[in-house]
């Protein structure tokens, strides 16, 4: 009999993250496929308020301890490993986010079990879990037979819609009282990045503008979109040369090399000097009125239309979707 499916329900500022809900949605499918329970593992110092949002799970396994109040993967890994040793889950799904990063690396070591990283999808095949992973920077797909439990699956964002895992509860909560060793790492606090211009090489989302933006007056439109997407505006060389954006925002051969999760290229023709700086972005969407623009050769999705027509529509849609 396989063990239960665990999802580490990470939370940020008092609520589970979207990534946690996505992993719960995937975990739900696996639990149903195996005919076992889905358990959300919640760590913190005051997790009582989280249960209501975690209705996708059959049960919540909660550990509250002062040492768990901070985002220290080392402590979380030892805590979950201790639980896993006792309860033998089939798999532990951990969302791949900056919050869960250290836990992903440490948990398999602390449990002494295998892990599958970069999981894009997972399903039950003949009573066993199979994972699909993207490796080598997305250049290869693999199918992996997940060994009998426990095993850790590190789940990429976007495997399932967050909505599918956002089910109100509360499910029964199993509060576990245990000793937690605070370890040798001390959390000193969060801080806002220092003022100064945005470092575009560190943004997950970039809205890039090219000469097709038409004039400085339209840069605002791109900024509005970037804000909705939680990213920053960057530009190709002509835009910088015109002085519409500062030099720190230039992408390309003579600017920055960027690898964001999303690169939304607006009115960028795709000159090789520019492409050299952004071709490794995970998702490239280009809007350009010239349907033969070279940018469409590197983009994953393209819209052959004037950005000034498309962007306002997109802004409306994102606003309607409650992004503001």
């Amino acid at each position: 009999m396989p063990g239960n499916i665990w999802v580490v329900a990470e939370h940020w500022q008092g609520s589970p993250t979207d990534a946690a809900f996505e992993a719960l949605a995937l975990g739900r499918e696996l639990a149903d496929g195996l005919g076992v329970a889905l358990e959300a593992v919640v760590l913190g110092s005051d997790t009582g308020g989280l249960a209501a949002a975690l209705g996708a799970a059959d049960r919540i396994v909660a550990v509250d301890h002062p040492a768990l109040s901070d985002p220290i993967g080392d402590v979380a890994a030892r805590t979950i490993a201790a639980l896993a040793a006792e309860r033998r889950p089939e798999v532990v799904l951990v969302p791949i986010t900056n919050l869960g990063w250290d836990l992903i690396g440490l948990l398999p070591a602390r449990i002494g079990c295998p892990m599958v990283n970069f999981v894009q999808d997972a399903s039950v095949v003949d009573g066993r879990i199979e994972a699909a992973s993207l490796v080598y920077g997305g250049k290869m797909s693999t199918r992996v037979a997940v060994p009998a439990g426990p095993a850790v699956l590190a789940v990429l964002p976007g495997t399932r819609p967050a909505e599918a895992g956002r089910i109100t509860g509360p499910p029964p909560v199993d509060r576990v009282a245990m000793d937690v060793d605070p370890g040798l790492i001390e959390f000193c606090g969060y801080r806002e990045p220092e003022a100064g211009d945005v470092d575009i090489t560190r943004q997950d989302v970039l809205v890039a503008i090219g000469r097709g933006i038409g004039g400085q007056g339209n840069v605002e439109l791109a900024e509005e979109l970037a804000e909705l997407l939680g990213g920053a505006v960057c530009g190709s060389r002509p835009v910088i040369d015109q002085g519409w954006l500062p030099m720190s925002r230039q992408v390309g051969k003579s600017g920055h090399q960027v690898k964001p999760k999303l690169y939304l290229a607006l009115g960028v023709s795709g000159a090789p000097e520019h492409v050299e700086g952004m071709r490794d972005a995970e998702l490239i969407i280009a809007v350009n009125s010239d349907p033969d623009a070279p940018i469409f050769r590197v983009a994953h999705y393209g819209v052959g239309a004037d950005l000034l027509d498309v962007v306002p529509e997109l802004i409306d849609r994102l606003e309607a979707a409650g992004k503001r």
Partner: protein
């Protein structure tokens, strides 16, 4: 302060990757390896820490084609000592490699104790685990990954990690510790080829055979395939409003909204 930097070679994705005839791994015929980009940042961070705090930087590379070039280049950049760890069985996964490295370090003359072990916080071939945290667990040392800034303070390190929205989290960790470096304070430095050539003629790489370790967890790849690459964008047609709807749907699918 004595810093050990662990370097590994990963497939260079500038070259087209191909699937091996067995359909389960990379074809090695055209495969070329390159040092893991984050490991290069780890080396840079180590050199910067030494500039600030003094001490010694030792680089250890996992044996692979072209790793000698990387180690000589590290010596040319200023590393004090270069070690090549050899003898990992073909197809060893990350847990096995980390176990062997952990078991081998104590046997290397004059290496331990080190104050700090730095390595890249991730690599694009980390399918079955990440070396940094696996090694930290095996050596029972604290680990912090995604490190974007690190400074020495009172026998410990002050470390910053990045969270979404650019928010930084600050940590203090006692030494010795293992850090997974996301980005060094400065981009990895350039070392002119003349200096690399000089390191090749005057420097040495110490070969150390890794000691065998016990069984390690592993996974089985059933199949490896190349995702279809269109070579051209999928064009979204329709009115601006329809196009915007489709873009929003794509962003939702990818978890970007």
């Amino acid at each position: 302060m004595k810093i050990l930097v662990l370097l590994k070679m990963v497939p260079d994705v500038v070259e087209e990757l191909e699937v091996a005839p067995d359909g389960r791994a990379l074809d090695t015929e055209f495969l070329r390896l390159i040092v893991n980009e984050r490991d290069d940042h780890a080396l840079e961070q180590a050199l910067l820490l030494r500039e600030d705090a003094g001490g010694e930087v030792v680089v250890a590379g996992l044996d692979a084609p072209e790793v000698d070039d990387v180690l000589f280049s590290a010596l040319a950049k200023g590393a004090d000592r270069a070690i090549k760890l050899t003898g990992f069985p073909e197809g060893s996964g990350a847990p096995a490699v980390a176990g062997m490295v952990a078991g081998t370090l104590p046997s290397i003359d004059g290496l331990l104790p080190v104050d700090l072990i730095l390595t890249g916080c991730q690599a694009l071939d980390d399918l079955d685990g990440m070396i940094g945290p696996l090694l930290a667990a095996a050596l029972d040392l604290p680990y912090l990954g995604l490190v974007a800034a690190a400074t020495v303070e009172d026998g410990g390190m002050l470390v910053s990690k990045e969270y979404s929205g650019g928010v930084l989290g600050d940590f203090r960790v006692e030494l010795p510790a293992v850090l997974g470096i996301q980005a060094a304070a400065k981009p990895p430095r350039y070392v002119p080829i003349a200096k690399v050539r000089q390191a090749m003629s005057t420097g040495t790489i110490e070969g150390v055979a890794a000691s065998p370790a016990g069984p390690a967890p592993s996974i089985e790849v059933i199949e490896m395939t190349k995702p279809e690459s269109a070579g051209h964008a999928e064009m979204i047609t329709g009115s601006p409003s329809e196009a915007a709807a489709r873009i929003a749907a794509v962003l939702t699918d990818r978890g970007l909204l």
